[in-house]
Amino acid sequence: MAKIISAYGKLLILAMGRTLLLAFLGLVFACILGMIFGLMSVVKNKVCNIIAQIFVFIIRGVPMIVLAFFVYFGLPYLLNNTLKIGNGFTLTALQAGTICLALNCGAYMAEIIRAGIQSVDIGQMEAGRSLGLPYWTTMRKIIMPQAIRTMIPSIINQFIITVKDTSILSVIGFPELVNAAKNVQAKTFMSFQTWAIVGIMYLVVITILSYIAKIVERRMNRGVKR
């Protein structure tokens, strides 16, 4: 075990760094997508509602590994070969990975946001509207602040799931921790030690993230009776 750590420790840590970078990028775009589709599913516009539903339906119904292959291989092929408008279009593993995570996590975020907004008592919106406040002002100033409080635990949970989901993107060749571990295993043949160390690395990072999550949750709920 110690041999692996001393020889490949730096390599593995760098790979973890890339894992976290990918997760972070994916999450940033996932939040944006989640907010857009989440709001689209709650507004009083049937077209928006349906579009949002379709988005969530598709992403939830397709395993992320399939989505990864589709984005990394399928999309360039579609543009270059089938539609012939690509002109040698390719995506790097980082780009494809970010897109894939953004779509996947975004769909779940959209559902979290939808549920969060709908959990706020309808009387809050009615009170806001009855004072003459427009719909979006009421959303911004009254509904969203209250919705976010409900959403935070689920959002943080989704963050953690996304960090683990980066491992799926090993299949499109992104140099994250699982791929690095495969290299180490190939070079040393010490399968148990390699995967045990990598497993522990994930565990440590996730535990740290969960701890930060608990602190954020506590801060948000300061002064609120639960």
Binding site: A127, R129, S130, L131, G132, L133, K141, I142, Q146
Partner: protein, 248 residues
């Protein structure tokens, strides 16, 4: 409490409201005059709350017309936000904004709608809180208030927008009996100060004392309408009589 026949604040013509197949309001017509206090009585399911909520279009009407201050609010093109600025509403479950303190609850609408500066809004808010006897609770959060206090804050919040008309949807129904009195006292004072009020309530005593006119609704119709003396003390219709008998 002086009612001026010439000054009609709200005019309801042949109002009909359906929720899908369920017809909740059938052919309601009435007028609310400036300074009038109108109390709507009736059993559960009679449509009284739905009727009230149609007046500020929290519910859309299926058929009929409603004119508020001469503006036809059943017209889809009307700017309902502007109309609502002049109509205050008090809800059964208070609906105070839980994410801000009492003072900001009161200041939010006037400031956001650019009715006045922040300083003026604060001054008006404190004035309204004084009026409902809760000035010391300005920095409290809704979760820290009792039901009666919440409702008085809700009334103060509606008043901060300087409305001409106040709608009350069963304002004391969710309160403990000891707190009903403090809220009714505020409403009584408002009435004495000349506010046009439409109140849905089960407080018959309040209706008898404060109302200029009582409307008794049942099954989506206005069954009987008149002064408190006429409707509560000497009801004519059989349904009114049986209702009054049950609640008095």
């Amino acid at each position: 409490m002086i009612s001026n026949d010439k000054n009609v604040k709200i005019k309801v013509e042949n109002l009909r409201k359906c929720f899908g197949d369920l017809e909740v309001l059938r052919d309601i017509s009435t007028e609310i005059h400036e300074g009038e206090v109108v109390v709507i009585l009736g059993p559960s399911g009679s449509g009284k709350s739905t009727f009230l909520r149609c007046l500020n279009r929290l519910e859309d009407v299926t058929a009929g017309k409603i004119h508020v201050d001469g503006v036809d609010i059943t017209d889809k093109k009307v700017d309902m936000n502007k109309v609502r600025e002049n109509i205050g509403m008090v809800f059964q479950h208070f609906n105070l904004f839980n994410n801000m303190d009492v003072l900001h609850n009161l200041m939010l609408a006037p400031v956001e709608l650019k009715k006045c500066s922040k300083a003026e809004a604060k001054e008006r808010a404190m004035e309204m809180l004084q009026r409902v006897d809760l000035a010391e609770k300005a920095e409290a959060y809704p979760s820290q208030l009792s039901g009666g206090q919440k409702q008085r804050v809700a009334i103060a919040r509606a008043l901060c927008m300087k409305p001409d008309i106040m709608l009350f949807d069963e304002p004391t129904s969710a309160l403990d009996p000891e707190m009903v009195g403090e809220v009714l006292a505020v409403m009584k004072q408002l009435a004495a100060d000349g506010m046009t009020m439409v109140i849905v309530t089960h407080e018959i005593g309040f209706a008898r004392e404060v109302a200029d006119r009582v409307i008794f609704m049942d099954g989506g119709y206005i069954v009987e309408e008149g002064t408190p003396q006429e409707v509560i003390v000497h009801p004519k219709e059989a349904r009114t009589i049986s209702f009054i008998q049950k609640v008095l």
